[in-house]
């Protein structure tokens, strides 16, 4: 639909070490060069270069930051609200609970849809992970992890496996079997190893790689078969709470949000942090890409959700209301990107009009805070997971 969001990093021989790898275009003493990410890191951590001091570097840092703000301001020729004036107003939505999935004995912390549009996996505080056919309300598979607080779970694109992780600092993959009597724990595969809790995990386009975010401040890409760490992403200065893969045709980037109030966009090939947004006033609990891949939204403890345009490199909308005081813990877009569903700690889900910035609908029904909302792959329903031990399907 739209062209690539940013200039692709070129690939070729590094100007420093000569090896062929993804390159970063950097400036050394105002000259443009192409270094591979390893050489950049070596060069940057070698300390001050000749003629620099800590003070002069700080001064340069401040002036560059100011220049970046100026460049961004030059290109903000219009606001989203102005563009949205030409769009017609949405008719009132009538969204009701269609299913209530009961079966977890404790707070449901996370859920993910299967690509077949009707199955989903959910995980809870007591260590249980359940795979449901939400349409028939059948529980199809169940696993009990030895750890509590399973904070992250994901369904594989093929529908043949699920991944989950949490306080055990690991992310494990379980292949699903049709044999009801088989204990899924026997085939468990430990893939990711972090030094702190795993807050989010997702498969990439295949069953063979998972991307995880952790309380140790890093994100990492892993090869499922060997458990090998393929790439790690450093840059957050506090726990990373959420991540989401870009839906674009190149599929090479992902966004992460954390307790340092920053939302960072990363290139999976080089491990480099491409863009960074620090607009929230408190921890970012959840980030999600817009369906076209050119924008994303974030939900934060400061009770707002924000919308960022990646091509214009700035925040373009804030979704907030005086009557909403409790933090937002989760967001997801509807299929067209017109609606943004956000789950809050005051037990409600609000549906926002992304373009006009107004709240379209409020969904009540949960009896405790909403931990996760996800729209189904074909957009027909919204699933919400909550600390009241249930999941609800809305449509």
């Amino acid at each position: 639909m739209c062209d690539q969001t940013f200039v692709a990093i070129t690939f070729g021989p590094c100007d420093c070490c000569g090896k062929a790898s993804p390159l970063m275009n950097i400036y050394i003493k105002s000259e443009a060069t192409n270094y591979c990410s390893f050489c950049v890191e070596v060069m940057a951590t070698q300390g001050l270069q000749a003629g620099e001091s800590a003070a002069s570097l700080k001064k340069e840092s401040d002036s560059l930051k100011k220049k970046l703000e100026e460049e961004r301001a030059k290109l903000s020729d219009i606001e989203l609200s102005q563009v949205a004036e030409k769009i017609e107003v949405l008719a009132p939505l009538s969204i009701k609970t269609r299913r209530v999935l009961k079966g977890h004995g404790n707070k449901v912390l996370c859920m993910d849809w299967c690509k077949d549009k009707r199955r989903l996996v959910s995980s809870s505080q007591d260590g249980k992970v359940i795979v449901w056919d939400a349409f028939t309300l059948n529980k199809e598979h169940g696993v009990t992890l030895p750890c509590t607080w399973v904070l992250a779970c994901a369904y594989a694109p093929s529908g043949c496996a699920v991944a989950c992780g949490g306080l055990d600092n690991k992310c494990s993959v379980f292949p699903l079997s049709l044999d009801k009597n088989e204990n899924l724990n026997t085939k468990k595969k430990s893939v990711a190893m972090h030094t702190n809790y795993v807050s989010g995990c997702t498969f990439t386009s295949s069953d063979m790689q998972i991307l995880t975010s952790s309380g140790d401040g890093t994100c990492a890409l892993w090869d499922v078969e060997s458990g090998q760490l393929l790439q790690s992403f450093h840059g957050h200065t506090a726990d990373v709470l959420s991540l989401d893969l870009a839906p674009s045709e190149t599929g090479n980037t992902f966004v992460s949000g954390g307790c340092d109030r920053k939302a960072n966009v990363w290139d999976m090939r080089s491990g480099q942090n491409i863009q960074s947004f620090e607009c929230h006033e408190s921890d970012i609990n959840c980030v999600k890409y817009y369906p076209s891949g050119d924008a994303f939204a974030s939900a934060s403890d400061d009770a707002t959700c924000r919308f960022y345009d990646l091509r214009a490199d700035r925040e373009v909308a804030v979704y907030q209301k005086d009557s909403i005081i409790f933090g937002a813990s989760t967001v997801d877009f509807s299929l067209s990107g017109r609606l943004l569903f956000a789950g809050y700690n005051d037990y409600t889900i609000n549906a926002w009009d992304v373009l006009k910035g107004t709240r379209v609908s409020a969904l009540f029904g949960h009896e405790n805070r909403v931990s996760r909302v996800r729209v189904s792959p074909d957009g027909t329903a919204l699933c919400s997971a909550s600390w009241d031990n249930t999941l609800r399907i809305w449509s």
Binding site: V7, T45, K67, D77, I78, L93, T204, S334, T380, S395
Partner: protein, 465 residues
């Protein structure tokens, strides 16, 4: 109050466990890595460190003149490595790793380059850390201790704190404001007590304390020079005017409006609302006739067409048989599509399959005279082939993008044709209608074969008159 100084020569028996802290969400947002000592292995480390300090069989120490003072009991990196090799009799890599762990956990600290916690196998200088500062001691590195330490350094020389230390300091000032007077008083006391010591002892203690805090509060955040590179790149990155990008976002919404089940009804019905899953069964991959909405979606972008496996199938069928007299420049998209699929498999495949997949792809698509040779520009071809010497999952990135752009050019043509085809074929009838039609046929047949009711017929004719 913990102001005492211990000399390094007295080996101490290791103290039992320290507290293991774990929080779901840290209440102090600017903390980097959590440091959680692992007592069992640390006890083992300590016994080795004690051995290393044995005056007869341990690592040989000497005096070093550093700046203006003389520092006793200094050891070199290579001596430590030699001692460990002799003791453990293992490979150089393991010895290096073990040595680095001794430094990382704070049992040995570097005198030069004090922020880099690695053991260098050369004449770099190190010292053994006093047991008082070992990780397993009874006291945990508390924030108030750190605050006192930073305040003391500030008293000694203003502006001496590094950027990350400044960040810690201002944060602690907010966090521990209620006992700030106490902290400043302690820092002043420690500073005065320190001044009363002789110079060499003072230098030693300062080094020990500094090393301890580097281990317990590691420097975080990117070094300034790295940050500047990030800003420079951000400035140089191509950005788009808001009117353009916001316009594109709005266009996306408008295009997909009718396909969003929350905004427009989905046909025949939303399964969650009616409990009938016809919507899913008529949108499977192998269904005879894809729905009109589905085909319309393929026309939105090549990405949509390729993401829907049925769209990809129909694209292939179109290329293979729709036009026997198809111009060659369209025929080659068959290999383009095959190459694109193979590149996707490489990118998302297992790490162990990289080399074999790359080889197959080279033989099939890229080698001169290959059976499905793809026609991409010389520069991309050259770079790709060269990259295949050391294959990794992104080696085909440039070639794949190029092929994708080539296919994009025919996307409009293809989707128009696919839409036409969909319209030419019968739309397929809803099962309910089919059932109704069948019932009507049955009724008509029943009526036709039933015996004629003469009276009714006659009265009908009479009524017509």
């Amino acid at each position: 109050m913990r102001i005492c100084l211990r000399k390094v020569d007295l080996p101490l028996s290791p103290a039992p466990i320290s507290i293991c802290r774990m929080t779901i969400r840290t209440a102090r947002p600017n903390r980097g890595q959590h440091f959680r000592p692992r007592t069992h292995c640390l006890n083992k480390l300590e016994s080795i460190v004690v051995e290393m300090q044995d005056p007869k069989s341990g690592v040989k120490g000497s005096e070093q003149k550093l700046n203006v003072s003389t520092i006793p009991h200094v050891i070199t990196g290579k001596d430590v490595i030699a001692w460990i090799t002799n003791k453990m009799k293992t490979t150089p890599e393991e010895v290096q790793a073990f040595g680095t762990m001794l430094v990382a956990y704070g049992y040995i600290y570097p005198l030069q380059n004090h922020k880099k916690l690695v053991l260098c196998n050369d004449s770099s200088l190190y010292r053994f850390q006093t047991p008082y500062f070992w990780p397993t001691q009874k006291w945990v590195a508390e924030d108030s201790d750190y605050a006192i330490y930073l305040a003391k350094r500030n008293i000694r020389k203003k502006g001496m704190l590094e950027a990350y230390e400044q960040a810690h300091y201002s944060h602690l000032h907010d966090w521990l404001n209620h006992k700030w007077d106490f902290i400043v008083m302690q820092a002043t006391e420690q500073y005065k007590a320190g001044k009363e010591r002789n110079k060499p002892d003072r230098v030693v203690f300062d080094c020990q304390e500094r090393a301890y805090w580097i281990v317990s509060r590691p420097p975080f955040g990117l070094p300034l020079s790295f940050q500047n590179i990030f800003y420079q790149q951000a400035i140089m990155r191509s950005k788009v005017k808001s009117s353009v990008s916001l316009g594109a976002l709005t266009k996306y919404v408008t295009t997909y409006k009718n396909h969003d089940p929350f905004l427009a009804p989905c046909l025949p019905s939303n399964p969650w609302q009616t409990d009938h899953d016809a919507y899913w069964t008529c949108n499977t991959r192998r269904i005879d006739v894809p729905t009109k909405m589905r085909v319309e979606r393929w026309s939105f972008s090549l990405f949509e067409l390729l993401s829907d496996l049925r769209g990809r199938d129909d694209f292939k069928v179109f290329l293979k048989k729709e036009f026997s007299g198809m111009p060659p420049h369209l025929m080659r998209h068959l290999s383009n599509l095959a190459f694109w699929e193979a590149a996707e498999e490489l990118k998302w495949g297992t790490a162990s399959s990289m080399t074999s997949k790359a080889e197959t792809i080279f033989k099939t698509f890229l080698a001169p005279g290959a059976p499905r040779w793809i026609n991409i520009d010389g520069r991309t071809m050259g770079l790709t082939v060269k990259g295949l010497d050391h294959p990794h999952r992104y080696v085909l990135e440039a070639a794949q993008t190029h092929v994708f752009l080539l296919m994009k050019k025919v996307h409009v043509l293809v989707s128009n044709k696919l839409e036409q085809n969909a319209q030419n074929r019968s739309l397929g009838v809803h099962p309910v209608i089919v059932w109704q039609q069948e019932e009507e046929e049955k009724a008509k047949a029943a009526a036709a074969s039933a015996p004629v009711d003469v009276k009714a017929m006659m009265s009908k004719i009479d009524r017509k008159k």
